[in-house]
Protein backbone atom coordinates (compact mmCIF):
# COMPACT_ATOMS: atom_id res chain seq x y z
CA UNK A 1 0.00 0.00 0.00
CA UNK A 2 1.23 3.46 -0.87
CA UNK A 3 0.79 5.97 1.92
CA UNK A 4 0.80 9.67 1.02
CA UNK A 5 0.70 12.83 3.04
CA UNK A 6 -1.65 15.54 1.74
CA UNK A 7 -2.84 18.80 3.28
CA UNK A 8 -6.43 20.05 3.00
CA UNK A 9 -7.02 21.29 -0.52
CA UNK A 10 -4.19 19.26 -1.96
CA UNK A 11 -4.68 16.79 -4.73
CA UNK A 12 -3.17 13.64 -6.11
CA UNK A 13 -3.71 11.72 -9.33
CA UNK A 14 -3.99 8.07 -10.23
CA UNK A 15 -3.26 7.19 -13.84
CA UNK A 16 -5.31 4.31 -15.14
CA UNK A 17 -5.70 2.77 -18.60
CA UNK A 18 -9.12 4.45 -18.80
CA UNK A 19 -7.96 7.91 -17.84
CA UNK A 20 -6.82 9.94 -14.91
CA UNK A 21 -8.46 9.91 -11.49
CA UNK A 22 -8.06 13.05 -9.42
CA UNK A 23 -8.46 12.97 -5.65
CA UNK A 24 -8.64 16.05 -3.49
CA UNK A 25 -8.75 16.28 0.28
CA UNK A 26 -11.67 18.65 0.90
CA UNK A 27 -11.98 18.68 4.67
CA UNK A 28 -10.80 16.93 7.79
CA UNK A 29 -12.88 16.05 10.81
CA UNK A 30 -12.06 14.45 14.11
CA UNK A 31 -12.75 10.98 12.79
CA UNK A 32 -13.28 11.40 9.10
CA UNK A 33 -12.13 12.97 5.92
CA UNK A 34 -14.09 14.38 2.99
CA UNK A 35 -12.63 13.51 -0.36
CA UNK A 36 -13.40 14.86 -3.79
CA UNK A 37 -13.05 12.43 -6.66
CA UNK A 38 -12.86 13.24 -10.35
CA UNK A 39 -12.88 10.13 -12.48
CA UNK A 40 -13.92 9.14 -16.00
CA UNK A 41 -17.67 8.62 -16.18
CA UNK A 42 -17.43 4.89 -16.79
CA UNK A 43 -15.64 4.37 -13.49
CA UNK A 44 -17.88 3.32 -10.64
CA UNK A 45 -16.91 4.39 -7.16
CA UNK A 46 -18.45 2.68 -4.14
CA UNK A 47 -18.09 2.98 -0.43
CA UNK A 48 -17.01 -0.38 0.96
CA UNK A 49 -19.93 -0.90 3.33
CA UNK A 50 -22.39 -0.09 0.55
CA UNK A 51 -20.89 -2.80 -1.62
CA UNK A 52 -21.19 -5.28 1.25
CA UNK A 53 -24.83 -4.40 1.82
CA UNK A 54 -25.55 -4.74 -1.86
CA UNK A 55 -23.92 -8.12 -2.06
CA UNK A 56 -25.78 -9.41 0.96
CA UNK A 57 -29.09 -8.25 -0.45
CA UNK A 58 -28.38 -9.80 -3.82
CA UNK A 59 -26.98 -13.01 -2.40
CA UNK A 60 -30.01 -14.17 -0.53
CA UNK A 61 -32.24 -14.82 -3.51
CA UNK A 62 -32.22 -18.51 -2.75
CA UNK A 63 -35.84 -19.06 -1.76
CA UNK A 64 -38.72 -19.79 -4.03
CA UNK A 65 -42.30 -18.70 -4.43
CA UNK A 66 -45.04 -21.29 -4.63
CA UNK A 67 -47.48 -20.90 -7.47
CA UNK A 68 -50.82 -19.59 -6.19
CA UNK A 69 -49.53 -18.17 -2.93
CA UNK A 70 -49.89 -14.60 -4.10
CA UNK A 71 -53.01 -12.56 -4.56
CA UNK A 72 -51.31 -10.33 -7.11
CA UNK A 73 -51.85 -11.05 -10.76
CA UNK A 74 -49.97 -8.03 -12.05
CA UNK A 75 -47.72 -8.70 -14.99
CA UNK A 76 -45.41 -5.87 -15.93
CA UNK A 77 -45.87 -5.17 -19.66
CA UNK A 78 -42.27 -3.97 -20.01
CA UNK A 79 -40.76 -7.01 -18.34
CA UNK A 80 -43.08 -9.25 -20.36
CA UNK A 81 -41.56 -7.79 -23.49
CA UNK A 82 -38.05 -8.46 -22.22
CA UNK A 83 -38.84 -11.93 -20.95
CA UNK A 84 -38.58 -15.33 -22.52
CA UNK A 85 -40.92 -18.22 -21.96
CA UNK A 86 -39.62 -20.69 -19.42
CA UNK A 87 -39.42 -23.47 -21.91
CA UNK A 88 -37.26 -26.41 -21.10
CA UNK A 89 -35.31 -28.00 -23.92
CA UNK A 90 -36.55 -31.48 -24.61
CA UNK A 91 -34.24 -34.00 -23.09
CA UNK A 92 -33.34 -35.62 -26.42
CA UNK A 93 -30.23 -33.46 -26.57
CA UNK A 94 -27.22 -35.20 -25.16
CA UNK A 95 -24.77 -33.22 -23.10
CA UNK A 96 -22.26 -33.18 -25.93
CA UNK A 97 -24.71 -31.63 -28.32
CA UNK A 98 -25.75 -29.10 -25.76
CA UNK A 99 -22.09 -28.16 -25.43
CA UNK A 100 -21.57 -27.55 -29.13
CA UNK A 101 -24.89 -25.71 -29.40
CA UNK A 102 -24.05 -23.35 -26.63
CA UNK A 103 -20.81 -22.48 -28.35
CA UNK A 104 -22.84 -21.20 -31.28
CA UNK A 105 -24.56 -18.61 -29.23
CA UNK A 106 -22.00 -15.87 -29.67
Amino acid sequence: MLVLFRKIGETFYIDTPGGQIKLTVIALYQNGVRLGINAPKEYNIYREELLEQLQQAQDSTSGSIEEGTLKVEYKSPLLQRLASKLQAKKQVVSDNQAESDSEDRQ
Partner: protein
Protein backbone atom coordinates in the same frame (compact mmCIF):
# COMPACT_ATOMS: atom_id res chain seq x y z
CA UNK B 1 -28.76 -27.58 -33.69
CA UNK B 2 -32.48 -27.16 -33.84
CA UNK B 3 -33.44 -24.17 -35.93
CA UNK B 4 -37.12 -24.07 -36.62
CA UNK B 5 -37.09 -20.67 -38.23
CA UNK B 6 -34.60 -17.99 -39.11
CA UNK B 7 -34.37 -17.05 -35.42
CA UNK B 8 -31.34 -18.52 -33.74
CA UNK B 9 -32.14 -20.50 -30.64
CA UNK B 10 -29.71 -20.71 -27.77
CA UNK B 11 -29.44 -23.44 -25.25
CA UNK B 12 -29.07 -21.90 -21.84
CA UNK B 13 -27.99 -24.16 -19.03
CA UNK B 14 -29.43 -23.30 -15.67
CA UNK B 15 -29.29 -24.94 -12.30
CA UNK B 16 -32.91 -24.22 -11.47
CA UNK B 17 -34.70 -24.86 -14.73
CA UNK B 18 -32.48 -27.30 -16.58
CA UNK B 19 -31.45 -26.49 -20.13
CA UNK B 20 -33.66 -23.87 -21.71
CA UNK B 21 -34.19 -23.03 -25.33
CA UNK B 22 -34.19 -19.27 -25.73
CA UNK B 23 -34.45 -17.10 -28.84
CA UNK B 24 -31.18 -15.24 -29.22
CA UNK B 25 -33.09 -11.98 -29.64
CA UNK B 26 -34.33 -12.38 -26.06
CA UNK B 27 -30.89 -11.89 -24.54
CA UNK B 28 -30.30 -8.96 -22.21
CA UNK B 29 -26.75 -7.66 -22.16
CA UNK B 30 -25.33 -5.96 -19.10
CA UNK B 31 -21.80 -5.10 -20.28
CA UNK B 32 -20.57 -3.89 -16.88
CA UNK B 33 -22.14 -6.81 -15.08
CA UNK B 34 -23.85 -6.59 -11.72
CA UNK B 35 -22.10 -4.98 -8.78
CA UNK B 36 -20.21 -7.67 -6.92
CA UNK B 37 -20.70 -10.35 -9.56
CA UNK B 38 -18.02 -9.32 -12.00
CA UNK B 39 -17.97 -11.11 -15.29
CA UNK B 40 -21.45 -12.39 -16.14
CA UNK B 41 -22.85 -9.97 -18.70
CA UNK B 42 -25.46 -11.95 -20.57
CA UNK B 43 -28.81 -12.63 -19.00
CA UNK B 44 -32.28 -13.78 -19.89
CA UNK B 45 -35.43 -12.76 -18.12
CA UNK B 46 -37.74 -15.65 -17.37
CA UNK B 47 -41.37 -15.58 -16.39
CA UNK B 48 -42.14 -16.53 -12.83
CA UNK B 49 -45.05 -16.23 -10.42
CA UNK B 50 -46.52 -12.79 -11.20
CA UNK B 51 -45.35 -10.13 -10.56
CA UNK B 52 -41.90 -11.74 -10.29
CA UNK B 53 -39.42 -12.74 -12.96
CA UNK B 54 -36.08 -14.51 -12.85
CA UNK B 55 -32.98 -12.78 -14.16
CA UNK B 56 -30.91 -15.78 -15.17
CA UNK B 57 -27.25 -15.55 -16.12
CA UNK B 58 -26.36 -17.25 -19.39
CA UNK B 59 -22.68 -17.49 -18.44
CA UNK B 60 -23.19 -18.94 -14.98
CA UNK B 61 -25.93 -21.59 -14.62
CA UNK B 62 -26.10 -21.10 -10.86
CA UNK B 63 -26.59 -17.33 -10.98
CA UNK B 64 -30.23 -16.25 -11.00
CA UNK B 65 -32.06 -13.45 -9.24
CA UNK B 66 -35.72 -13.00 -8.46
CA UNK B 67 -36.65 -9.59 -9.85
CA UNK B 68 -39.52 -7.13 -10.06
CA UNK B 69 -40.51 -4.23 -12.28
CA UNK B 70 -39.30 -1.04 -10.58
CA UNK B 71 -40.18 1.64 -13.13
CA UNK B 72 -42.95 3.29 -11.15
CA UNK B 73 -41.09 3.33 -7.85
CA UNK B 74 -37.97 4.78 -9.48
CA UNK B 75 -40.08 7.57 -10.91
CA UNK B 76 -41.64 8.13 -7.49
CA UNK B 77 -38.21 8.49 -5.89
CA UNK B 78 -37.07 10.63 -8.83
CA UNK B 79 -34.09 8.38 -9.48
CA UNK B 80 -32.54 9.86 -12.59
CA UNK B 81 -32.03 7.22 -15.31
CA UNK B 82 -28.45 6.94 -16.58
CA UNK B 83 -28.97 9.01 -19.72
CA UNK B 84 -25.79 9.12 -21.78
CA UNK B 85 -24.48 5.91 -20.28
CA UNK B 86 -22.16 4.24 -22.81
CA UNK B 87 -23.18 0.64 -21.98
CA UNK B 88 -26.82 1.14 -22.86
CA UNK B 89 -26.66 4.20 -25.12
CA UNK B 90 -29.73 5.38 -23.19
CA UNK B 91 -31.15 8.61 -24.54
CA UNK B 92 -33.90 10.74 -23.08
CA UNK B 93 -36.42 9.62 -25.69
CA UNK B 94 -35.67 5.91 -25.21
CA UNK B 95 -38.13 3.63 -23.56
CA UNK B 96 -36.52 1.81 -20.65
CA UNK B 97 -37.37 -0.84 -18.11
CA UNK B 98 -36.22 -0.91 -14.51
CA UNK B 99 -35.43 -4.26 -12.91
CA UNK B 100 -35.10 -4.55 -9.15
CA UNK B 101 -33.42 -7.52 -7.51
CA UNK B 102 -35.55 -9.06 -4.79
CA UNK B 103 -34.36 -10.52 -1.49
CA UNK B 104 -36.85 -13.23 -0.64
CA UNK B 105 -37.90 -13.60 2.97
CA UNK B 106 -39.79 -16.56 4.35
CA UNK B 107 -42.99 -14.63 3.94
CA UNK B 108 -43.21 -13.08 0.51
CA UNK B 109 -44.91 -10.03 1.96
CA UNK B 110 -41.79 -9.44 4.09
CA UNK B 111 -39.44 -9.69 1.11
CA UNK B 112 -37.56 -6.64 -0.06
CA UNK B 113 -36.37 -5.17 -3.33
CA UNK B 114 -33.02 -3.55 -3.92
CA UNK B 115 -33.95 0.00 -4.79
CA UNK B 116 -30.43 1.17 -4.07
CA UNK B 117 -29.08 -0.35 -7.25
CA UNK B 118 -31.74 -0.78 -9.94
CA UNK B 119 -30.91 -2.19 -13.35
CA UNK B 120 -31.98 0.03 -16.24
CA UNK B 121 -32.57 -1.71 -19.56
CA UNK B 122 -32.83 0.23 -22.78
CA UNK B 123 -35.78 -1.35 -24.63
CA UNK B 124 -34.29 -0.28 -27.96
CA UNK B 125 -31.19 -2.48 -27.72
CA UNK B 126 -31.89 -4.69 -24.68
CA UNK B 127 -28.72 -3.48 -23.00
CA UNK B 128 -28.70 -2.80 -19.31
CA UNK B 129 -26.68 -1.15 -16.58
CA UNK B 130 -26.90 -1.36 -12.81
CA UNK B 131 -26.81 2.07 -11.22
CA UNK B 132 -26.00 2.60 -7.54
CA UNK B 133 -27.81 5.55 -5.96
CA UNK B 134 -25.67 6.25 -2.95
CA UNK B 135 -27.96 8.79 -1.28
CA UNK B 136 -30.05 6.45 0.89
CA UNK B 137 -28.48 3.07 1.71
CA UNK B 138 -31.64 1.92 3.54
CA UNK B 139 -33.21 1.44 0.12
CA UNK B 140 -31.11 -1.68 -0.37
CA UNK B 141 -33.98 -3.49 1.38
CA UNK B 142 -37.12 -1.72 0.29
CA UNK B 143 -40.30 -3.56 1.37
CA UNK B 144 -42.00 -4.90 -1.72
CA UNK B 145 -45.49 -4.69 -0.27
CA UNK B 146 -45.07 -0.96 -0.77
CA UNK B 147 -44.32 -1.54 -4.41
CA UNK B 148 -47.08 -4.01 -5.05
CA UNK B 149 -49.85 -4.69 -2.65
CA UNK B 150 -48.63 -8.15 -2.00
CA UNK B 151 -50.96 -10.30 0.01
CA UNK B 152 -50.63 -13.98 0.53
CA UNK B 153 -53.38 -16.54 0.09
CA UNK B 154 -53.30 -18.50 3.26
Amino acid sequence: MTEKNSECMLLVRTERFGTLEIESSKIIQIPSGLVGYGKPQIFVLLEYVAPFHWLQSVDDPSLAFVVLDGLEICKKFELVPPFGDPDTDLREDDEYAVILIVTLAEKISKSTANLLAPIFVNMRNRRGVQVVYDDDPSRVRYPIFELYELGENS
